[in-house]
């Protein structure tokens, strides 16, 4: 049995060894504050524009920055998860770069300026501050990803197809085939999503009254 198990793992490992290259951004610092009505954060990251992302943007196709956050209070309280995304574009004819969050678009002159902008994201709204009343301590964690062409959501259909490729069907029977190799290699390698996302950066537990107050700061 042990021999069979070892054989299965060895057979699967070559697949995991050939997993796509990992170029993950790193969150260096995060700061939360409020203007009294909204809880905001500023984020400092590095490694946002890998060669792959830079190539895609410079070719004229978009890349997408996604910021994932999870805020929860201690004990039984609120738990909020959300995503903010920004589209990175380059007009190859006009030689203009732009960063858009869907509502507003900022034009920039160079890819270095674009890198600088998305490495220092500021004034990102998380939740209405009033939801943190009651003095309960809370924690927030962040993870960031930059994907070429479309966000992580865009590749999920295809990911699901891989996952479900084992449906076999004849006229009088159907079978769900589980590929043991894929299962094992998934256990030994990061998923596509995890491979492109930064590690979670966690802000230690804080009470609402301890949150820094900056009146009128929401830009």
């Amino acid at each position: 049995m042990t021999v069979v198990g070892t054989g299965l793992i060895l057979a699967a490992l070559p697949a995991s060894a050939r997993a796509p290259s990992s170029e993950r951004p790193v969150i260096r610092d995060a700061r939360i504050y409020t203007d009294g009505s909204i809880l905001f954060c500023d984020l400092t990251s590095s490694g946002m524009l890998s060669d792959r992302i830079t190539g895609t943007v410079k070719s004229g196709l978009p890349a997408v920055v996604e910021l994932f956050y999870h805020l929860k209070t201690k004990g039984r309280g609120i738990s909020v998860e959300g995503i903010h995304s920004w589209s990175l574009r380059y007009d190859v004819w006009e030689d203009i770069y732009s960063v858009s969050d869907g509502d507003t678009t900022v034009t920039i002159e160079s890819i270095e300026a674009m890198d600088n902008m998305i490495s220092r994201l500021k004034g990102i709204s998380l939740i209405p501050f009033s939801r943190l009343t009651g003095g309960k301590r809370f924690m927030v964690k962040f993870s960031i990803a930059v994907n070429p062409l479309s966000g992580s959501e865009g590749e999920q259909v295809e990911g699901w197809i891989e996952e479900s490729a084992g449906v076999r069907q004849e006229s009088s029977w159907r079978e769900q085939v589980l590929n043991v190799n894929d299962l094992i290699s998934n256990l030994f390698s990061k998923s596509r999503d995890a491979a492109s996302r930064s590690e979670w950066f966690e802000i230690e537990s804080a009470a609402p009254e301890q949150v820094e107050r900056i009146p009128g700061r929401n830009d």
């Binding site: 697949a15 865009g154 999920q156 295809e158 449906v167 006229s171 043991v180």
Partner: protein, 477 residues
């Protein structure tokens, strides 16, 4: 009675008509691409489109670049959009069984406005260990304890697969081989071998009339089957497949049968009279033709396209068999997406056998993949049907969406109808059976789509149940 008459006169023909119309339903759609690309749209710059310079592949060690390139519809000079790249990614993902994942990115091309597309391939190992579970229309649920598949690398390579299966009514081994082993256009050959021990279910009156009265009881009988198929095949447009070949099978039924509930054994002489003559050790040899056209966008969760198969068998004593008979089966399903993983689907399936058909090659209807709301095989008398038709419609709605993936939980409403008949007996609408109901499908990682359907009979059945709950793998069709 009135309820049954209305259903038989109006609903069943309507289902039949709908399914017939569906035979000519639209070709393969781009369901996956639609959801994922519409938000980002085209990479247009002041009305000017980006054009493809070239495609480069990285990470492919086993699969040749030619094979991957051959799968692409995107050609140099074509307009490059997010949708086109999503489609190209699917083309490559489907192109070879060893492609496990594809990551797409782009680089500036040689000239302004041109784009180089880079596709980073993750490959699988050639030997795939498998496990799984399935459902056979007649023999019910089974577990694939262990399976092994050897996958082709080049288009001329063979693919072979073997598996050991254990189920409630089925135990055995099967293996198949095909060359070429990939979904390439052109000719090839294949073989399939199987050895099964199966438990055949049938419904009939108790062999002890003083105990069981006229109630229909469930009985089981063991059968050993071993067979071999050798065929030539031709694939066209990746969606259509023709096979023609020889088929030989030996069937050896047990001389006893047992009551499914009490386990009491009875000798073969106690079988219903209609079965007594039909059940015997037999060898079947003959020719088989099959055509399959599959334009579904996704096999496991179709929202566009159709599936049609036609199978013809001519069995003869010339090849050493004991029986002379013919058999024809037709199955078609259509899928109409109505947006956001909602769809209306329909099905028509029919089959007919000639006189001389051995008992175990006859038809048995009722159950999850036949007419829901009735027990498995319960709508067929003990001697089996000589012909049948089934028709159904189903409306699928997401209950718990999962972004651009298929819903985590899907609800469905269905109506099924069908009829089996015996040669020589008049075919009337009074023997049409129908049921309606609802169901759920849960999408689980690695286990696929599992669920239940609850069917309420709209006409009389054999077991007089008010409703029937069925377990299901995937959708019924």
């Amino acid at each position: 009675m009135m309820k049954q008459t209305i259903l038989n006169r109006y609903i069943a023909p309507l289902l039949l008509l709908t399914a017939l119309v569906a035979c000519g339903c639209p070709a393969r759609g781009n369901a996956a691409g639609n959801d994922t690309t519409s938000a980002t749209g085209q990479a247009m710059h002041g009305g000017r489109a980006l054009l493809l310079d070239k495609v480069i592949f990285t990470g492919n060690r086993l699969i040749s670049e030619e094979t991957l390139r051959g799968a692409l519809e995107l050609q140099p000079g074509d307009t490059v959009t997010i949708a086109a790249l999503a489609r190209a990614r699917l083309d490559v993902l489907y192109s070879h069984p060893l492609v496990r994942d594809v990551r797409v990115s782009t680089l500036p091309g040689q000239r302004l406005g041109y784009v180089t597309v880079e596709m980073e391939i993750t490959e699988r190992s050639r030997a795939a260990f498998e496990t799984g579970f399935g459902y056979h229309d007649i023999y019910g649920w089974f577990l694939t304890v262990a399976g092994l598949r050897w996958q082709p690398v080049k288009s001329s390579d063979s693919m072979w697969r073997a598996g050991v299966r254990i189920g409630f009514h089925l135990t055995g081994l099967d293996a198949d081989w095909e060359k070429p082993g990939m979904l390439e256009n052109g000719a090839g050959a294949g073989a399939r071998f199987w050895v099964y021990n199966q438990e055949h279910l049938f419904y009939g009156p108790s062999p002890k009339p003083q105990e069981g009265g006229q109630a229909q009881l469930e009985f089981r009988q063991n059968i050993s089957r071993a067979g071999l198929e050798l065929y030539l095949l031709y694939r066209q447009e990746r969606t259509t497949r023709f096979t023609f070949g020889l088929r030989a099978e030996k069937i050896d039924p047990d001389t006893t049968f047992k009551d499914a509930e009490t386990g009491e054994k009875y000798p073969g002489s106690d079988l219903p009279p209609s079965m007594r003559q039909a059940i015997r050790r037999t060898a079947i040899t003959g020719f088989q033709f099959r055509m399959v056209r599959d334009t579904r966008d996704l096999q496991a969760w179709p929202r566009a396209g159709s599936f049609t198969s036609l199978s013809l068998q001519a069995n003869t004593e010339l090849l050493g068999g004991d029986e002379i008979f013919t058999k024809a089966e037709f199955d078609t399903r259509f899928y109409l997406g109505t947006g956001s993983w909602r769809s209306i689907n329909g099905r028509l399936k029919a089959g007919i056998t000639s006189s001389g058909t051995p008992y175990y090659d006859k038809y048995f209807i009722g159950g999850i993949y036949s007419i829901r709301g009735f027990a498995e095989l319960s709508l067929t008398p003990p001697r089996g049907h000589d012909g049948f038709w089934l028709a159904g419609m189903e409306w699928r709605v997401p209950l718990i969406p999962s972004g651009s993936k298929p819903p985590r939980l899907t609800g469905l409403l269905f109506i099924d109808a069908g009829q089996g008949w015996l040669r020589g007996e008049p075919l009337t609408t009074s023997t049409i059976r129908s049921a309606a109901g609802y169901g759920f499908r849960l999408r689980l990682p690695w286990l696929g789509m599992l669920g239940i359907d609850v069917g309420v009979p709209l006409s009389e059945g054999t077991t007089d149940e008010q409703f029937r709950i069925h377990g299901a793998i995937g959708f019924s069709y």
